[in-house]
């Protein structure tokens, strides 16, 4: 954060703010119309329809063969930031406690980010006392170019493939398959639907060019305990599913009856957890109207979890009423 007199002056100077804003906009325009972005767009546009994750990975790997543009991009950003400390790079910021990156390209098939993983932060994390840790399987095919590998040693891990029928009970175990040092410029293709890596050691920070492919992605990203290999938990891969869940909950809480049919349209969603979530909201809106859907789910849903949950609710509804008019719980 920039503090002190310089910030105070900038916040009071509308002209200076306009200049900064214009510089940021001009940079974004130059980037979006520039040769790198155009090459990425052209490569994605030339893919067959429908395309597969492997085809996207192949196209991205070819584009990652040339990475001089990463140095040029970072240098151009640094120049602007030196000239104007309030210049904010026009890219979505990606940051964790270990990694700082910028999302430089995004379409419905792939997201491409450039970032640095800090050796210092990694050492701090590895050496400080901590609780249980996870190996994450992000559910997407990924292409990783270690522009500068920082002497990184990676271990590689495998787990049973994450598919639409994934269950916690059937998650199995993840296992370590090997370990090796990564060379500068090396490209790895990691299928996050069944593969992952862990940074075991670093001699210096590494610069990573990363493509995460949304095509054919698994519905879930899954965590396994790094010590035992056992399943820890899972989350939705994409935010669309989570947004559907939030919006349908909101509509039910507002008791918005006209939305019933629109909400019921999500009962055929490919993600099992969305289907059950939507079913619950329908039951919360109008039991009689939801009942045929509930029966269908209990009988035919392709995933065992929603089938079981729907059956449990049906059993509760159909249980004989107790004396006093109450149904069995």
């Amino acid at each position: 954060m920039i503090v002190g007199e310089e910030l105070k002056a900038w916040t009071r100077d509308r002209d200076a703010q306009r200049v900064t804003r214009a510089d940021v906009d001009a940079f974004a325009q130059d980037w979006n119309r520039g040769p790198v972005h155009r090459r990425l767009e052209d490569a994605m546009a030339s893919l067959p329809v429908p395309t597969t994750a492997a085809q996207v990975a192949e196209a991205v790997s070819a584009l990652f063969a040339d990475h001089d543009w990463v140095d040029e991009l970072v240098a151009a950003l640094a120049r602007r930031m030196q000239a104007d400390p309030f210049f904010d790079p026009p890219f979505r910021n990606l940051s964790t406690d270990l990694h700082a990156g910028l999302l430089v390209f995004e379409d419905e098939r792939v997201s491409i980010a450039v970032g640095v993983t800090s050796a210092l932060q990694m050492a701090v994390r590895k050496n400080q006392p901590r609780g249980a840790t996870s190996v994450g399987f992000n559910g997407q095919l990924g292409v990783y170019r270690f522009v500068k590998a920082g002497g990184a040693t990676l271990s590689f891990w495998e787990a049973p493939p994450i598919g639409p029928g994934f269950t916690a009970a059937g998650a199995g175990l993840c296992r370590r398959t090997g370990e090796r040092r990564i060379a500068d410029g090396e490209i790895l293709v990691i299928d996050g639907r069944r593969e992952s890596y862990v940074v075991e050691g670093l001699q210096g920070s590494f610069v990573l060019l990363q493509a995460s492919i949304a095509v054919d992605q698994a519905p879930l990203s899954v965590e396994y305990d790094s010590a035992t290999g056992r399943f820890v938990g899972c989350s939705a891969t994409g935010d669309t599913s989570s947004r559907i869940q939030m919006i349908t909950t909101l509509l039910r809480k507002l008791d918005h009856q006209p939305a019933f049919e629109a909400i019921a349209g999500f009962l055929d969603h490919p993600d099992f957890f969305v289907r059950w979530h939507v079913m619950k909201e329908l039951l919360g809106l109008d039991l009689q109207a939801a009942l045929p859907h509930l029966k269908r789910m209990a009988a035919t849903d392709p995933h065992p979890d929603p089938r079981r949950a729907a059956r449990a609710v049906l059993d509760r509804i159909e249980a004989p009423a107790r004396p006093g008019g109450k149904r069995a719980a």
């Binding site: 996870s134 992952s196 989570s242 009856q257 929603p306």
Partner: protein, 45 residues
């Protein structure tokens, strides 16, 4: 006519509990960077 409703909070959860996109249960040991997590997708409380 008044609709009959079930209380959603009392309905069973799935055996496979699925958290919202971008959330994790334990600290990541130091590996694949999930862009969804790194982007800090905020979906509301």
């Amino acid at each position: 006519m008044e609709k009959i409703r079930l209380t959603v909070e009392e309905l069973p959860e799935l055996e496979t509990e699925v958290a919202v996109a971008g959330s994790v249960k334990q600290q990541e040991v130091g590996g694949v960077i999930c862009l969804a997590i790194a982007a800090g997708i905020v979906l509301g409380a």
